[in-house]
Subunit: 436 residues, 2 copies
């Protein structure tokens, strides 16, 4: 390990110690820290420092955009204005108001008289989160960590480096003002530092990897630490034969155009015979908003103005105002298409037919499965989790939007009065296994 | 992929299809399969075939033991007699009687009028389990898979190959007799096949790796599939100054001698000043049962007959009648020793002092933390889970003994009436987030 790697290892160890305290204090004390973080972000001088740092990041990003090195959408996402800050502060206060996820007892059982087993929620310990250049993620993730009694090691996209540093500075100050070790909140500066973090399996309990599928795969392969993959969102919208055309078009426009680079935006529209009217309305509304549609032959037979799709367009995350469109024979074919091309994120069907909706909801194996609603609802805030550390496309531990509850584990606590396993068995004592 | 690898990939794909049906049928139907499996294992001809296969495995293992190639404890573990079979059958019937883990609703929330979110438990899909030469594991794991609506790919220790094949044959027959595809239960024959399975991340959702720490590490490194690690159990028993000597000795003997190769057996005994009487009783009782104790200098000053421990003896899984013994200054030192040397499996304290017990239970970061009880209680059956697929030393998803509940995930199902995300926000509609 070189000096830099050793410094990161030391920071992770320090985060474990500092986080341990956050896990031991009471829920109201953790709540107090969240409120202090919100207050600090409202303090005029601190807020000004954050906005100044963000202005510098944005100026650089705009220059890069003008040189053609950065997409315009990424610059928009980078901007942290007064309105976004209000949202961030509001989010921290919402988290403060949420029920404490720690100490929750999920098993409470007498194995026998005087032999009492409980399964009790506790923090994971230290969580490392690698995320894109999106400054509002910093207070969201830090807030979720405090809410769940964990320390956190953060690495954000480099375009937001100054903003993130300013935000972390404010949040660490709030921790210190409340009498806690600010070492519970660590900000990494360099992408190479992430690889160091991935080797620290004694001090990091979970890696949340947000980003491209290739990046997430790299993290999964490089690390023995469990990874919560927030990878691609290849989301489909299915127009059933019974789809109401107006509803279909409203949902398609929201799901494609509301925030095209979001992982919960749709990438493919599937329609089946009988859904022609819904398709027509969708195509008209999407076209009027500048969406490039890449369509199969059957779709182009009806809408000759659309671009011809290639096989690679299906199952591709465009992240832009581009949408693949394909006709499928029926609901079964739609389910098969989704199984083959989906990424297990969010899938939605527009249908008046309740039987078709029920079949869709029962059959699709994805984190989020919707009926007559936009895929854009797949979001921790919208789901009522207060915030999210990411949207997991993994099936293990936490799936879909991950809030504070996804950052806890549990311990089995057994209190006895001298019992031994040898006391139990055929011809001896029997377990009672009586839930309290 | 060579022919054999392709055959395994095809079997895994077939398991996914067959398992999908197990996840879709009703709880009572899954219950019926479990009862049919239990009945089949009681049928005279099928049971005879299993016992015959086991006799052949045991004969080979005994020969290997006589050549010094296999530990005697492994031969004992391999034996499947009538009594063990009764236990296995009883376990399947217990599983049949358990509450269905599928369909459980853990979030039931109106996001708004007519926008209803539920989080519903569903199977993981296909689970691969690699385990030691222990025939009773086969029906336990198969039973848990059926209970949780999953398919399973099994690879047991090669010493039990014929027994496992006979058991799987009986269980597959029961599946087929109930009208289900026996392809939901796949048995691998060769260790090399495990490496093929680890590459099938589209068709295998979870790998449960039981075995040595080195083997578990290999699986974690070789696979992008999430791994539930059932690795070492380096369990400690702490004698507090307030420990009651008789209780301490009974627990120490049970935890060391009951089943020395079990992962929940203790490897190290820690004692602190004031616990001398408890230590003396433990040493006397353990010595009389042939336990080799490797002790620190402070312990040997009191018990000069004990072997001198080396640093490597602490944090080592002996899996035999060997125990490391060390004096620590106080409870804090005991906690530090466990943090440094423990494997996060099971830790127990013997103490009459309630404050010390409470501190121990609050501080130790392990799957199972016990007070005045043997570490041997860390077991799915003893905890009332019916059976276990393993004891997880991971913190994610499932920790400690893993029953059927640990083999499920969930999906977020949202039913709307045309809502779009753009309807909500500042100055627009607000979410209600009202739990039902």
């Amino acid at each position: 390990m070189d000096d830099r790697q050793q410094a990161i290892a030391a920071a992770a160890r320090g985060a474990r110690r500092a986080g341990w305290v956050l896990g031991q204090i009471s829920g109201p004390e953790r709540r107090q820290i969240l409120l202090a973080m919100a207050d600090a972000l409202e303090r005029a001088d601190l807020r000004a420092a954050v906005l100044r740092a963000n202005a510098a990041d944005v100026a650089d990003a705009q220059a890069a955009r003008d040189r053609g090195e950065l997409a315009a959408a990424l610059v928009d996402r980078l901007v942290l204005d007064d309105r976004k800050l209000v949202g961030v502060v509001d989010g921290l206060r919402q988290l403060a108001g949420q029920a404490d996820p720690l100490g929750k007892v999920s098993v409470d059982r007498d194995l026998d008289d005087g032999l009492h087993l409980r399964r009790v929620a506790c923090p994971l310990g230290v969580i490392a989160v690698v995320f894109e250049a999106r400054p509002d993620a910093v207070p969201q993730i830090a807030g979720l960590a405090v809410r769940s009694g964990n320390a956190v090691v953060l690495k954000g996209g480099r375009e937001a480096a100054r903003t993130n540093a300013a935000l972390v500075d404010v949040l660490r100050r709030a921790l210190a003002d409340q009498g806690f070790d600010p070492g519970a909140l660590v900000l990494l500066e360099d992408r190479a530092d992430v690889d160091t973090v991935l080797t620290l399996d004694r001090d990091i309990d979970l890696v949340v990897a947000r980003g491209s599928a290739a990046f997430v795969r790299h993290v999964q392969q490089a690390s023995r630490i469990p990874v919560l993959a927030h990878a691609e969102g290849i989301c489909h919208l299915v127009l059933h034969a019974s789809a109401e055309p107006e509803m279909a078009a409203r949902i398609a426009v929201d799901a494609k155009c509301g925030y095209p680079s979001a992982c919960n935006a749709i990438e493919t529209l599937l329609w089946m015979p009988g859904a022609e009217a819904a398709l027509d309305r969708c195509v008209a509304e999407l076209a009027s908003r500048g969406v490039e549609m890449r369509a199969c032959e059957a779709t182009r037979a009806r809408h000759p103005g659309l671009v011809a799709a290639t096989a690679a367009d299906f199952g591709h995350e465009f992240g832009a105002l581009v949408l693949a469109v394909r006709r499928v024979d029926d609901l079964t074919a739609a389910l098969a298409h989704i199984e083959q091309h989906g990424s297990g994120h969010t899938e939605s069907i527009v249908a008046e037919d309740e039987g078709a909706a029920a079949e869709f909801l029962a059959h699709v194996d994805a984190a989020c499965v919707f009926h007559n609603a936009s895929t854009r609802f797949a979001d921790g805030y919208r789901f009522g989790l207060g915030a999210e550390v990411g949207i997991s496309t993994s099936k293990l531990h936490a799936r879909g939007p991950v809030g504070a509850e996804g950052l806890v584990t549990y311990r089995w606590l057994l209190r006895g009065s001298g019992q031994i396993a040898g006391d139990y068995g055929p011809g001896k004592r029997r377990f009672r296994h009586r839930d309290r």
